[in-house]
Structure formats: C-alpha cells, structure tokens
Symmetry: C2
Subunit: 288 residues, 2 copies
DNA sequence: TCGCGTTACGAGGGTCGTAAAAATT
DNA sequence: AATTTTTACGACCCTCGTAACGCGA
C-alpha cells in the first residue's frame, strides 16, 4: 500500500472520475489508472466499478480508512512545519449550519482584536483546510447525544471547544398528519421520505443510534441555505431536521420538536493541538 | 512522506536503535539511516537524536501520528483480506491487567463452544495482533472516567464491548502518613513518588485530567505481575494504583480507595468491525 | 578497537508520461 | 463518434545494498 496510490484512490472515490482525480492531483489519467490498478492488485480486491465509477463494498471500507490516514498525515505535516510567528490574521473555516448565532456572537466579541477571515465550506473541506494549515480554526457542527463530541475526526487529532448545543425540530408540510404534534419520535417517522441535504449536516441518518435511512427516491438538495431546504419541505418533497437556531418561518411548514432520541445539534470550535497559541484569542473569547 | 520511511521511523523510535529496527524490518542499517534522513529532510526537522537514539519533540509528535496511521493501515489490510470462513479457533490477545475475574468468567462460559487461544501481551502488541489479523479479539484495559471508552485506538477502527469497570485503590507502604485514610485524592499525592509500571497500565499519569507525573527518580518496573508491584510498594520504592479486582494482600501495604478524581479501571473486549462474525460467540457470552 | 550511525555509489526496480487501443454511452 | 479507461513502452528517478568512512565509548 502506497500513500500516493491511496491519495489517488481517495480523489477518484470523492470525485467519481479518473479524469477529475488526475486533474486535481496533476497526474495524467494514465497514472491514475495505474495507481488504482496497483492498489487493487495489492489488496487483492476490486475497489471501484468503472462506467460508472463507484466504490465497491471493499472500496467503501478502504476509502474511509484512507480519508482518516491522509487527514492525519496532513495534520502531522502541518504540526511539524516551522510555525510562523502567529500572524495577527486568523482564518476560520465554518460549515454552513455551524455558523449560527453563538458563532456570530463569538466573532463580535473578538472584533478589533484580530483580523479574522471567515471561510464557509462543507465540513470535509473545513477539515482539509485545518489539516493543511490553511485555516487556524474551524467551526464544525453535527448531531450528537448531549455532551458528546461530534464525530468529526479522530480524537487526539483535533482540540475541541463547545460553542453551542441546541434542540432539533422536525420540519413537516403543514398538511402532514403529524404536523400538529407537540413532539415527535424519529422512530415513528421510520418510513418517511426525507430530503437529503449533505451540506446541511442534519440528516436523520446522522443521528446516533438511528437505523440507516433508505436512499432510494430521496430528493438530494446540494445547496447550503436553510431557506431552500424549508421551501422543499413546504412543497412536500420530503421532511427535514433542523436545529432551532436555524429555523426560518415559512408558510405551510410546521417545525415540531424532536422528542426522541435525545439528541442535539452541537457546534464546536476545533483546531490543531499544536496551534493552540494562534487560536488563543478565539478560545479566550469563547470562554470569557 | 513515505509509508516505508514512516514505518522505519516508528520502529527506530520504538526500539531505540537503528540496528534493531533494521533487523526487525529486514533492511540494512544503511537503509534505515537513509529512511530517517529522508524523513527528516522532508519534514524539515530533526526527529531523532543519535547516540543515544531518542525522539526529539517533533519526533514524539510524528511518532504518535505514525503509530495511528500504521495501525489503521494494518486494520484496513486485514479487513480487506479475503476472510477465511471463520475458523472454530479463536485467538484472544489480553493485557496482563485486563485479564481479571470477569474475563475468566467470560471464557468459562464459552468453554466447549470453541477452542480459544489466550495470548497475554502488552497493550500495544495486543493492538498489533488485532490489526494484523493474528488475533480475532483483544481484551484491553485502562483508566477512564466511568462509562467512557478507554483510549486504545481511534473510535471507528475498533468495535468495543464493556467487560467490567472497577474502582481503583492507591497502594501505600503501611508506614506512610496517609496509609490510614478512608479515601484519597490524587491531587493530595501530587508530589509523591510513583512506581512506573508501563505493562500494568495503572499509571497515575494515565488518569484523565491529571497533570503529568515527574519522570525523574521513578523506579521503572518492567514486569507484568501485580505481586511484584505490590512488593515494591512494601519496600517503600514508590506508590502504585491498582483496580480492586487485582489487589493482593501483602504485609506492610495499605490499599486506600481512590476518591478523586472519579475514575475507574475499565476492561473492554475489542475486535475489528469487519470481523464481527468471528467474534460473535464471545460477544454473545459476554451479554448473555 | 569495537559498535553504531553516515555517506558514496551503482545496479535494479518502480513510476509517470506519451501514445495507441479498447470499451462504454 | 465522443468520452473515458486501459495497456504498452521507454526514460527517468529513486531506493536499497555494498562498502568505505566517521565518530564516540
């Protein structure tokens, strides 16, 4: 198993294309093909189907390991890089749904102290920025049981600080039979059709301890604005889950508190342990 | 950063010798030297001092990342290897202090069902056996706050099952001024001299949230039997921490309950998620 | 002097790009 | 036919072992 092959494989898996991966890594298509072939030979299994390019079962497993390994190695490189003497300019990568009121408060409390560059990105890219040293901190969010860290990366790789936890609401079209409930169990919605919004990180499939949501027939919303998601619910294209702090009123949409399982939407400020000094003002503003 | 170089570096860091690492990896000394030199050049930092061979600060950080990365890659390889149709022979690696009463109970409940090979090893080697596929399960132990998993490897790499949790006792020589206490705070023993027993995994430095214990002047006991440790305490060579289930009576030694911080000794049964079927009888016996 | 790590150098192997072929839509 | 992946092949580079060297005990 070779790291360059692994990196190439991860890029192919992520982009779904040999050609795109080649462009991203500045290789030729040919080299990408050879990398994947060599990797498959070395593990003795097909990792990808071709036309269309998709991960096999073995490929899914290896891709997961590869992401963790490559991220950690990026972190290692960044930690070992001769750290510049803490620029007074701080880059913070934020997920779209992580950027809630408490984060704005935090930044407001800091204004004047340092120049902050705010960089909204999907969660995976936030992590990559952090690992590559292109951002000093990130604001990540996810659904967890209360007081549990979100499953971002392996513990030990990142230092974490709690920013906020909020209860969740289930968004239903007003005409839905359960729209009038005072509270809902996710279990009672087992067969419901959910909108799949990967950028918004509020997927019921991400709820700890919840059975996988069927993927067939789901509408996939690749946008990152909450209003768009709400609009889809209003038009009865599926249900959605949202933290209370991100709710927007919309006619024809009911937001019923999620009663069970007992989970919350959690926002965390994370950074590399070795870069604690650069992030100190942020952390101080958070705790102060 | 190259994986072979990383593997070589880890071996040098672990063995403390270029020559030993070369022997272990079937390289020449020369190749090991070149690997380390290339790695140091690529990260731009010295990772090891020579004569004596020891990790620099940067080396410590990289070695930690390297261990995680290499372990995960071993796990990936094992998971992808064409799994043999579950032999009716199960290898279980156990740490010396993990092998307590409840584990013996577990094995007793299983006797007759399958042939079990029990393999006592230091914790790091247990993990290696598991990752390499040479053991189907491992019994690991460590000190944690109650209901928290022990810090063995990254979550997601291993599937875990709670076997037992036990309170801890502080072992003091009978003449010690605190030997008569009903309960002790670790904070009140900040300046005490502890016996360093790496194989017994009950080091106060391993207690979550506890400040590092000074390493100077500590006696290091490299054995793995509890009786030996107790004997050292009796002879006033230092204090020790032990779970109640492992206590042995010894004249001149008092075992005072640890009152604070609120931590326990926890034993877990772990295995690779992809190998759940092979371990099923064990897990069933555990829960049944 | 002995043990251990480093450096010089060359053979061998591996990797990537070019280019042509094959396969799928 | 166009697009995408695979294969063939060769130049280049990199890696490892041999062997000589440096350095400290």
């Amino acid at each position: 198993m070779d790291l360059r092959q692994l990196r190439t494989f991860e890029a192919v898996a992520r982009t779904g294309s040999f050609t795109a991966a080649a462009a991203e890594l500045a290789y030729t298509q040919s080299a990408v093909s050879q990398h994947v072939a060599a990797l498959e030979a070395s593990v003795g299994r097909r990792l990808l189907t071709r036309r269309p390019v998709a991960l096999t079962e073995a490929g899914v497993r290896l891709a997961s390991h590869a992401r963790h390994v490559l991220l950690r190695l990026d972190v290692a490189r960044t930690e070992l890089a001769a750290q510049a003497p803490a620029p007074d300019r701080l880059t913070v990568a934020v997920t779209p749904t992580g950027f809630t009121g408490p984060v704005a408060d935090l930044l407001a409390r800091l204004s004047g102290t340092a120049v902050i560059r705010l960089l909204p990105l999907p969660a995976a890219d936030c992590l990559r920025q952090l690992a590559a040293g292109d951002a000093e901190a990130a604001v990540l969010d996810g659904i967890t049981t209360a007081n549990q860290p979100i499953a971002a990366a392996e513990p030990g790789v990142l230092a974490r600080h709690l920013v906020a936890e909020q209860p969740l609401r289930v968004l239903l079209p007003a005409g839905h039979p359960l729209a009038g409930s005072a509270g809902l169990d996710l279990a009672s919605l087992r067969d419901a059709r959910w909108v799949d919004a990967p950028l918004l990180r509020c997927d019921p499939a991400a709820v700890p301890g919840h059975p996988p949501v069927p993927t067939s027939g789901r509408l996939r919303y690749e946008g990152d604005d909450v209003a768009g998601l709400v609009r889809l619910v209003a038009h009865q294209l599926g249900l959605a889950l949202l933290p209370e702090g991100l709710l927007v009123d919309h006619p024809g949409v009911a937001a019923v508190p999620l009663r069970s399982p007992a989970v919350v939407h959690r926002v965390e400020l994370v950074h590399l342990p070795g870069r604690a000094d650069a992030v100190r003002p942020l952390v101080a503003a958070l705790h102060g």
